[in-house]
């Protein structure tokens, strides 16, 4: 490197001085002709922006877009947090907003200390460490995971006045990447009498639940990645089950063991919980599939319609545990008349499908509803029909049509129909 000449050094010093006193006396008069645009542009265009970040965060202006936590005050790791579906668009749930259901907190698992054991009715029990599993061939699958207890306030006699996501957001949609479970089951060798698999988690509830072997051999994934990055701790790090279309509890997080058996274990979470009490006193058990459902996320409770009359883009989500969404209809008169919504690509099997429809509001009282039909022909029921069929004490698997009342003032309330 060459040493700067004296003249260049003097020039640099003058510029530095000029910078400190710009506009006062050091610059010639012609420089202050007011054609500088700094005052006409937003301030973030006239100063360098912030530097790089190792892990990006949402804008501070979006700090209200959060999971809403509902936990037991005596046991803060026992509860749920709801995805703010009403604040999101598209179909992929950001990892920091994926819903949570924990039975006793989020375990802080050291992946080098974690093993998956597959044993029971197998030819040879095998254990797998995380480093080995990362070397297996992987597939990616975009699908929803929905808690069996999602939307359970719908069973109550009075409609809950919570935002869309905070009543129906125990469902999220992500791209899960991992190992087809079939590969690992083939490796251990399945004995002919094996019919069920007892999955167990490495959390402080040691959650255990029975899963039909058939499902694990069909489309189950041992997921290691969520939306491209390794699983978040609250979503099962370092590994979890993903069972497309089946209720959340079966998608066991922090998986430590799969034991093949010939019968279900009748664990707490398949008997006292995640079963649906019917009016005759019996309970539906092993109700694995999440039925078709849809929800208008905008406009919805907590928003309002500012222009009267005005044009609004009705937008929402539909999903089905049985397959693809075939149709979503929208009603503005509480189900008297229906119009087909546009379904946005991609329309994936057992994944969120975004729908929309422009709506010209004339300022009159309206009740907005959406109704999903899946590719098997199953049609999302009205609340009356669901309650007629199941009573009001099933708690789980509530998938009825949701109604948003629009008042003449443009306010939005949750109602159970007109």
């Amino acid at each position: 490197m060459t040493k700067p000449t004296d003249s260049r050094r003097q020039f640099l010093q003058k510029v530095a001085l000029g910078g400190a006193f710009a506009g006062t006396f050091s610059l010639p008069v012609w420089a202050a002709d007011k054609s500088n645009l700094a005052y006409d542009l937003p301030k973030w265009m006239t100063k360098p922006g912030k530097g790089f970040s190792n892990y990006g965060q949402p804008s501070p202006h979006e700090k209200e877009v959060i999971r809403w936590i509902s936990a037991n005050p005596d046991a803060q790791g026992n509860g749920v947090s709801w995805t703010p579906l009403h604040d999101l668009q598209g179909t992929i749930t950001p990892n920091g907003l994926h819903y949570e259901r924990h039975h006793n907190g989020v375990p802080q698992i050291d992946p080098t200390q974690h093993l998956l054991l597959i044993d029971g009715l197998v030819d040879k029990p095998l254990s797998f460490d995380v480093a080995s599993l990362l070397r297996y061939p992987m597939i990616s699958r975009t699908c929803f995971i929905e808690c069996g207890g999602n939307s359970n306030s719908g069973w109550r006699s009075n409609p809950i006045q919570s935002k869309a996501g905070y009543a129906h957001g125990l469902v999220s949609n992500a791209e899960w990447t991992g190992i087809p479970l079939k590969l690992l089951l083939q490796e251990v060798g399945i004995k002919a009498e094996a019919k069920w698999v007892i999955a167990e988690a490495a959390d402080a509830a040691a959650l255990n639940i029975s899963i039909p072997l058939e499902k694990l051999l069909d489309d189950a994934i041992l997921a290691l990645y969520q939306n491209g990055e390794r699983l978040r701790p609250e979503n099962g790090y370092p590994m979890r089950l993903v069972l497309p279309g089946w209720e959340g509890i079966l998608n066991v997080k922090w998986l430590r063991q799969l034991r093949l058996t010939n019968e279900p274990a009748m664990t707490r979470d398949e008997t006292s919980q995640y079963t649906e009490l019917m009016p005759d006193g019996t309970a539906r058990q092993f109700t694995f599939i999440m039925e078709a459902k849809s929800l208008i996320t905008s406009p919805s409770l907590g928003m309002m319609l500012p222009d009267n009359p005005g044009t609004y883009q009705i937008s929402g989500l539909a999903w089905s545990g049985r397959g693809k969404i075939a149709r979503v209809e929208i009603s503005a008169d509480g189900g008297e008349t229906w119009a087909d919504a546009e379904l946005h690509s991609p329309i994936l099997d057992r994944a969120f499908t975004r729908f929309s429809l422009p709506w010209h509001w004339q300022g009159d009282y309206s009740v907005l509803q959406s109704r999903a039909t899946d590719e098997t022909g199953y049609v999302q029921p009205t609340r009356d029909a669901l309650v007629q069929q199941r009573g009001q004490h099933g708690f789980f698997h509530y998938n009825a049509i949701v109604s948003w009342e629009i008042t003449e003032q443009g306010d939005i309330n949750h109602v159970y129909g007109i």
Binding site: I118, Y136, P137, L207, N208, R259, M266, T267, T271
Partner: protein, 178 residues
């Protein structure tokens, strides 16, 4: 084998196997785990036939004291009314207008009660209870609704024989009809 030939072979494999993960070529990396699989910490699940129950015993009177000390904080001093779920009473309420799903009114198997207490309770200190303590807690809760005699000791032999009131109350939707 020349490098060129190896590369050629590798490409062939990709062509042959990339169409389906089921055919993918991969290295089986599972480690033999007979010994691991025989260890007690990998046998936490207890099935209705009693398989997995540890040797031990306890009575309702012993359980009452443990309950007051370790459970009543969340479940209420009488096993109802706390922040946690109600555990006893309400037997026969399932067809009423306000059914209550307590352990004694709803749970079909007593083995599940042992399994769940041992793995998950007390919620602030899971796996801290001895087998005898868990038997005692089960005996206490069950005896409160006369599912078990007040003086009857519970152990690994008779726990699976306990007949829960709602034993036949569940209708499996899988696999016949979803």
């Amino acid at each position: 084998m020349s490098t060129g030939f190896k590369l050629f072979t590798a490409l062939l494999l990709i062509t042959a196997f990339s169409h389906s993960y089921a055919d993918a070529e991969y290295q089986a990396l599972g480690k033999h785990a007979e010994q691991l699989s025989s260890q007690v910490q990998w046998h936490l699940t207890i099935t209705p036939d009693g398989k997995g129950l540890p040797i031990g015993h306890g009575t309702a009177e012993q359980g009452r004291k443990i309950f007051a000390l370790k459970c009543a904080g969340c479940h209420g001093p009488a096993g109802i009314g706390g922040s946690a779920e109600p555990l006893k009473g309400e037997v026969g309420s399932l067809t009423s207008e306000y059914p209550e799903k307590t352990v004694n009114s709803y749970w079909p198997y007593a083995t599940t009660l042992f399994d769940y207490i041992r793995r998950a309770m007390p919620i602030n200190d899971p796996f801290s209870l001895s087998a005898n303590e868990v038997y005692a807690l089960c005996a206490y809760l069950l005896s409160e609704d006369d599912i078990l005699g007040k003086d009857q000791e519970l152990n690994e032999e008779n726990l699976p024989q306990v007949s829960m009131p709602n034993r036949d109350g569940f209708i499996a939707i899988y696999p016949d009809k979803y």
